[in-house]
Point group: C2
Chain length 174, copies 2
């Protein structure tokens, strides 16, 4: 059985909506996901980079992110034909461990928690496919990288790309 | 550069000494590591299995384990010639995440935290070598398993075995 490794933030967990909301509330702005196309919030507002990164240090930040549309249904389907692992770079935010685990148990409780991986450098992942929004994780990775579209990677080229979970379904279940 | 993945409990972290101490204190016993040869505490005292497993659910349990003799020095040496990852089955005790991370930062702070992996099923690990005391983790693992001697695995055969960190040094740096 082939194995698919799947990232969390911006792939199955809607990181941007909450991050932008917290930022807009604090600074009285009205930035939208459209403003993040081809860039990142910290590049748009470089003088606020420390504050922008600090939201993720709150141990609860990752606990109530929305689920990305279609991800539950498609992953449930995929899990009948593929071995599914969730592989998230949690070591970048060590305060996030518990929230990420609880979020996965709540929204993806049909997966085996022994298939959750909290890592940093994803070249350690042994899987046939890795679905991730950060192309840097494909460096040194041994399988087929699949770039999941996110605002920040709009202009990144040279990878297999899927724009949403319906395209993931089509790629694997066609 | 070849990569070595290294388990935590009973390999770099002295799990048994603390576990036995807590058990002996609570039940007025005098069990030693010698009593665990070829078995496990929960098999020796099956009527207490729930309590025996419950110690590890305490979020602080893994925070103050002793470091296994020689592990720091040898891993520091190995890290000059090999890529080192720490791969621990933390998903079995999700309350352990923070303690394990802090323990690693305290005792193995010379390693990059992006090379820490909290997982469950270790077949997800892509490394040339895996040093582990649980032979079950070598099932489905793609590299060379190296069984690190622990009381419970004394009678396990069929694997490359190292008895202590000096033997790890000899294996990799001979």
């Amino acid at each position: 059985m082939q194995r698919i490794a799947i990232d969390m933030d911006e792939v199955i967990a809607d990181f941007n909506t909450k991050h932008l909301r917290l930022f807009n509330e604090e600074f009285g702005e009205n930035l939208t996901v459209q403003d993040l196309m081809g860039t990142r919030l910290r590049l748009l507002r470089p003088h606020l980079v420390e504050r922008i990164l600090s939201y993720m240090v709150d141990p609860g930040f990752f606990r109530d992110l929305d689920v990305m549309p279609g991800s539950q249904e498609v992953i449930r389907e995929l899990s009948e034909r593929y071995e599914i692992f969730i592989t998230t770079a949690a070591m970048e935010y060590p305060t996030s461990f518990n929230a990420k685990y609880e979020w996965l148990k709540e929204h993806f409780g049909f997966l085996d928690e022994l298939n959750f991986v909290f890592c940093g450098n994803k070249s350690i992942i042994r899987a046939d496919y890795l679905i991730d929004d950060n192309a840097r994780h494909f460096e040194g990775y041994g399988g087929q990288g699949i770039l999941f579209s996110a605002p920040h990677n709009r202009d990144v080229t040279g990878y297999v790309r899927v724009n949403d979970w319906q395209e993931v379904r089509a790629y694997f279940l066609k």
